[in-house]
Amino acid sequence: MILVHLQYYAQLREQAGMSGEQVNTAASSLRELYEELRLRRGFSLAAEVLKVAVNAQFSAWDRPLRDGDTIVFIPPVAGG
């Protein structure tokens, strides 16, 4: 298990009811981690419509996780 720091934006923040959290996870990739979170937090958006960034850099979904990573999930938003 590793510890990662998560930040949620927009719809994800609203659905999680928090701006972020720290989680212990056994997920091996970002995609696996997001699927875990979808179940736990009830996220309606599929990974395909999101961007993900790790340690302030956009990242591919198959990137392996490392202990202490800061991960940001970003949905596109449309309000103006």
């Binding site: 934006y9 719809q11 419509v49 956009f58 940001v72 970003i74 938003v77 449309a78 309000g79 103006g80």
Partner: protein, 518 residues
């Protein structure tokens, strides 16, 4: 009342009769007409808008001044508002006096002062289909009466033409007079005059950007006022482009304003972008954002995009140069409208678009003035709950570059959008659509329908998220998809067409559009 604003044509014979005084030996009248060209452009007609209360008071004052100054018996003036055709009477001035000289001079004084001082704006319609607002007080000419026989008149201090004072920004070493000249020569298009557009337009007009274009098809709704700070309660129901143009003319008459009352389309966006040095995307519409990104890439026009959600926002500057990322480098396809939220569905705190729009205005001025900016292109995330700002650099090599490059991707997307342009249909009444053989398909959620049911017309209800899964229910009819704004229905109709339902259509502007105008 000697001065009169009129939305209707006025009988000049009657005006003439009011000036028949037995003590008058002379009468003089001036008529101003709508002519067929202005500054080399052919004019089709025009529209006058007045700040009526102020115009009335100022008009009366001018007539009183003329009577006192030249000793005329009486003077009258009528100025038109509303739509006028070439040849129509726009303004009428008449004065009667014991002798002809006073009548001539008073007449001349009145028309000059009316042109200089009345808060009236003129929107010219050109034969090309474009239109433009011009503040009638815009060009100030020192008029002949001032410095000859008469010393400057105290009443005239307030009437001096407004001269913009940019000293607070030209004092910045990086701006200076050279920077101010750059701004005056700049042309900026602002797409969307809502929550983001209000601060963008206000700051750019205040800064003295020479030409501002405004694109917006919406009318002001009471629910806009908590975040759209250029407007007020009296403006509800008016077209935002008109309100914004009037507001900008009042804020800085030196700025030239051009307006588009319909959203840009795949067929004309590129052409419009080429007329500007910079574009600021401020709509709440994903399709407009993607169209803007494609048009920016293909025209090489820098684009500043922002969007908001509840307490957060995103900002991306698209440099529109080869090798620099575009919107599709991040999100290749427009997501379904129901997944991205809107101010209507999700709510938004008023200052949030204010902050993001202000950031857009700052970026626009930085680009126009060549001020230092971060080199790497990035997505800026702004969270106003925890006051966190985060810049995420965008790696262009991981975006459109994998699919032939931004330009190739944009060209294909524009071509597809042009092909699908007939998806959006306009109807004045839903009954007309049914009479034309369409089956209405209501894509709104049950809760929305309950609040605002379709009035007495048969329809099928399929929430937008299920439309593809239930496409088999639509194969035997010509479906006209409807939703509140036309965004979900437009997206769904394109989705259905991409999946073989070639007869799928969307009600342009949605039910909201239909309600407002009918």
């Amino acid at each position: 009342m000697r001065f009169r604003l009129s939305a209707e044509p006025v009988d000049t014979g009657l005006l003439h009769d009011t000036l028949k005084h037995p003590g008058s030996g002379g009468f003089c009248a001036f008529e101003g007409w709508v002519r067929d060209s202005n500054e080399g452009r052919e004019v089709d007609g025009l529209e006058y808008e007045a700040y009526a209360e102020l115009a009335q008071v100022e008009g009366e004052r001018i007539l009183e001044e003329a009577m006192a100054r030249y000793g005329v018996t009486d003077a009258r003036c009528m100025h038109r508002t509303g739509h006028l055709q070439v040849g129509d009477l726009a303004v009428w001035v008449g004065a009667c006096a014991p002798h002809r000289d006073e009548a001539f001079r008073a007449c001349r004084y009145i028309i000059d002062e009316i042109k200089h001082r009345l808060p009236i704006w003129k929107k010219e319609h050109y034969l090309t289909g474009a239109s433009e607002w011009v503040a009638c007080t815009h060009v100030y000419r020192e008029h002949e009466h001032e410095h000859k026989a008469h010393p400057p008149h105290v009443h005239h201090d307030h009437a001096k033409a407004f001269v913009p004072d940019y000293s607070r920004q030209t004092r910045l070493r990086e701006v200076g007079d050279a920077g101010q000249a750059k701004l005056a020569a700049s042309r900026v298009l602002v797409i969307g005059a809502g929550g983001l557009g209000c601060p963008v337009l206000s700051y750019l007009a205040g800064a003295g950007v020479g030409t501002l274009g405004i694109v917006d098809g919406d009318r002001l709704d009471a629910s806009n006022l908590h975040r759209q700070t250029m407007y007020d309660a009296r403006d509800i129901g008016e077209r935002k482009v008109d309100l914004a143009a009037r507001r900008l003319a009042a804020l800085n008459p030196a700025v030239k304003v051009r307006t588009w009352t319909e959203p840009l389309r795949a067929s004309d966006a590129l052409e419009v972008f080429r007329e500007f040095d910079l574009v600021v995307e401020c709509t709440d519409d994903m399709r407009s954002r993607y169209l803007s990104s494609d048009a920016a890439v293909l025209s090489g026009t820098p684009l500043i995009m922002a969007s908001v959600y509840q307490y957060e926002g995103q900002l991306q500057v698209i440099a529109a140069r080869p090798g620099m990322p575009c919107l599709r480098c991040l999100w290749p396809q427009a997501p379904a409208p129901e997944t991205v939220g809107s101010c209507v569905q999700s709510g938004v705190l008023g200052p949030v678009p204010g902050v993001l729009g202000t950031l857009q205005a700052a970026e626009a001025l930085k680009i126009l003035l060549d001020l230092p900016r971060p080199q790497a292109d990035a997505l800026l995330l702004v969270n106003l709950l925890d006051l966190n700002m985060q810049r995420l650099p965008i790696d262009a090599a991981q975006g459109c570059a994998l699919h032939g490059g931004c330009a190739e991707v944009a060209r294909a997307a524009l071509a597809l959008a042009r092909e699908q342009a007939d998806v959006d249909l306009v109807f004045d009444r839903l009954e007309d659509a049914i009479a034309s053989g369409f089956t209405l398909v209501d894509l709104r959620e049950a809760a929305e329908i309950a609040l605002d049911p379709l009035p007495g017309v048969p329809s099928l209800s399929i929430p937008s998220a299920q439309v593809l899964a239930r496409a088999n229910e639509l194969t035997t009819c010509r479906p006209l998809l409807v939703c509140a704004s036309g965004q979900r229905s437009g997206h769904a109709a394109r989705l259905l067409r991409a999946n073989g339902l070639r007869e799928a259509y969307s009600l342009a502007g949605g039910l909201r559009g239909m309600r407002t105008y009918s």
